[in-house]
């Protein structure tokens, strides 16, 4: 479970033109459920995702991660809670690496290298056994119907293929939480529905899913357990 208490994020704080992207948000995101953050552009959805995903620190407020697996941080027992906003960068990275899998709006694949290399990238600094990880990556890619593209450069992929590579990359470290930012923004309706079907499979497998979207296919999906509506950095419905 992820718990946010009065979380604020202000850019250019202390300067002449401060901008508050997330304004005193309190929210509880249940485990093994699909939560959708919906709202127009500029409503603070993506900023909230980056704060939850340990990619940025809030200006104020607290974020608790409950039920982390043992060994995520030194001396952490299974099921312990961690308040992440005050952790040093090294620990934030460890949590980001082991707990979250990110699927970005622009997919954010590294250009010029192969599909397989892109999927393996998150594992490089972990010093894992290369053969074992590569086997896992190939299995993921095959499961996503990308077997024939494993050695292809990501520059040649279609939008749907690139997204599936991004999904395979997000899953390579078997994270408990999958975070997706506007995942259907560049997909047609059929591919968007395919994506939601895949998310349904992950939910069934016990993953916690957190998706931002203003696409009705996503927030109107029967798979969505919780839909939280945001506007101007605040939650206006659903929490």
């Amino acid at each position: 479970m992820i718990e946010l208490i009065e979380v604020m994020k202000t850019y250019q704080a202390g300067l002449a033109t401060p901008f508050t992207a997330v304004d005193r948000v309190s929210l509880t995101i249940p485990d093994a459920r699909l939560t959708v953050l919906k709202g127009p552009s500029g409503s603070g959805k993506t900023t909230l995702l980056t704060l939850i995903g340990c990619m940025a620190r809030p200006t104020s407020g607290r974020i608790h991660l409950h039920g982390l697996p043992a060994g995520t941080l030194p001396a952490l027992q299974a099921g312990d809670s961690v308040e992440i906003t005050s952790l040093p960068e090294r620990f934030l990275t460890t949590i980001r690496r082991r707990t979250f899998g990110f699927i970005f709006q622009q997919f954010n694949l590294v250009r010029g290298i192969s599909v397989l290399e892109n999927v393996l990238l998150p594992t490089y600094p972990m010093g894992l056994d290369h053969q074992e990880v590569e086997g896992r990556a190939v299995q993921r890619l095959e499961g996503l119907g990308l077997a024939r593209l494993i050695r292809s450069s990501v520059d040649r992929l279609s939008g749907g293929e690139a997204q599936r590579v991004a999904i395979a990359r997000a899953l390579i470290n078997d994270p408990a939480v999958i975070i997706a930012d506007e995942p259907t923004a560049h997909l047609d309706s059929r591919l968007s529905e395919d994506f939601m079907e895949l998310m349904g499979e992950f939910r069934a497998a016990g993953k916690t899913l957190l998706i931002t979207s203003h696409d009705p296919i996503v927030y109107g999906s029967p798979l969505a357990d919780l839909v939280v509506e945001m506007r101007d950095g605040q939650i206006v419905a659903g929490a």
Binding site: T50, M55, E89, R97, P125, M126
Partner: protein, 378 residues
């Protein structure tokens, strides 16, 4: 223990693949970088090799050479003066030397002809340096013809080809008996080219030189240390001249490298953001960029040094020989003996590899230490 090694390996692999992704940019950078290292390393190798040659030359030189001067010009010295100088306290040996230059019109170079008292050197025979043998394309047992004073050719048998540690010492040398030298140059009997003086204690040489000048005011004693100092100054000066000329090229490289190294493109910034967002730490990103910078700078350094070695010691520094060697002193062509000065190479390494690596790491460090979302948005 295995995980950290595997981490280094993985990141190094990715660094190499990143370099290949930006082939054009990196090859251009390595090319210019290699060129600068090549030029500076050539200069260092060349000057060091020449200095070594000069030192080798002087190891075999006498402690002091006494020349006779007439109207400020070098003139043959009477052999009888040798006896008088030998009588000066502290002088161990005085040898009247007979030598001169022979201009070979075919090869366009001056050869040094010197008399040798070696009993194994036969009459009408010569011992020649490797440079002479190369130029004349002769081997032991062949005949060579030298044009005598009267214009008539004189034939000599090549009895031996001199092998020396330094080609500069013996490359242009022709040794023959004193009688043959006098016949070749029509050198008057009773005169010698100069006198070679050896002292029991080299610290007494200045005193001995003063006594010689007092006794023979028309002579000029030249100490070995003075010759060495002059050689060092000449080679340093020539090297310095080249450094000044190359200064502008090096400066251009620094600007080029700085621009290439510090200008982090939007794509690179975004890539750093992606890496951080998928679980890379700042230290992982720094390690990646450190490997990239190291591969570029080490490749350029090693290629530059290797090319310079080949250029100087296999092609006699053909690109700058006119600026560095002078015009007539070192004829005929000779090959330098390879010399590697660890200190100079280390200085070159620190002057080229470290600044480049540092220049690449500073902007990367700035990009890598911000939050991943900020790096991705910028």
């Amino acid at each position: 223990m295995r995980a950290p090694i595997q981490r280094y390996r993985n990141i190094l692999d990715f660094a190499l693949s990143s370099l290949l992704r930006r082939k054009g940019r990196n090859l251009a950078l390595i090319g210019v970088y290699t060129l600068v290292v090549f030029v500076i390393a050539s200069l260092i190798f060349f000057v060091q090799a020449l200095k070594r040659e000069a030192r080798e030359l002087l190891v075999q030189a006498p402690d002091m050479v006494v020349q006779r001067m007439v109207a400020g010009r070098h003139d043959p010295v009477p052999v009888a003066q040798a006896e008088a100088i030998r009588a000066i306290r502290g002088v161990e040996e005085v040898q009247a030397r007979l030598w001169g230059y022979y201009y070979d019109p075919v090869f366009g170079g001056n050869l040094t002809v010197m008399a040798s008292e070696d009993p194994s050197l036969a009459a009408e025979a010569v011992w020649i340096g490797q440079g002479v043998a190369r130029s004349m394309r002769v081997k032991e047992g062949d005949l060579i013809s030298l044009r005598g004073y009267g214009g008539l050719p004189i034939l000599f048998t090549v009895q031996k080809i001199l092998a020396g540690e330094s080609e500069l010492v013996s490359s242009d040398l022709i040794l023959m008996s004193p009688t043959d030298v006098r016949a070749l140059f029509n050198f008057p009997t009773g005169l010698a080219t100069d006198l070679a003086v050896t002292a029991g204690n080299p610290r007494e040489l200045p005193t001995i030189a003063a006594k010689i000048v007092e006794q023979f005011p028309d002579t000029r004693p030249i100490l070995k240390s003075e010759v060495l100092r002059t050689y060092e100054a000449i080679f340093d000066w020539r090297g310095g001249l080249m450094v000044v000329v190359l200064g502008s090229a090096i400066l251009a490289f620094i600007i080029f490298a700085w621009d290439k190294a510090t200008g982090l493109s939007a794509e690179e910034r975004k890539e750093i953001g992606i890496l951080k967002s998928i679980g890379w730490e700042s230290s992982d990103v720094l390690l990646l960029k450190f490997w990239e910078g190291s591969v570029v700078s080490l490749t350029a350094f090693l290629s530059g040094v290797l090319l310079a070695y080949v250029h100087v010691f296999f092609f006699s520094a053909s690109l700058f020989e006119h600026a560095l060697k002078g015009w007539s002193v070192l004829f005929p062509r000779y090959q330098l003996v390879p010399v590697l000065d660890g200190y100079q190479l280390t200085v070159l390494f620190f002057l080229t590899v470290l600044p480049y690596t540092a220049a690449t790491l500073v902007p990367i460090w700035r990009a890598a230490t911000v939050d991943p979302d900020a790096a991705m948005r910028s």
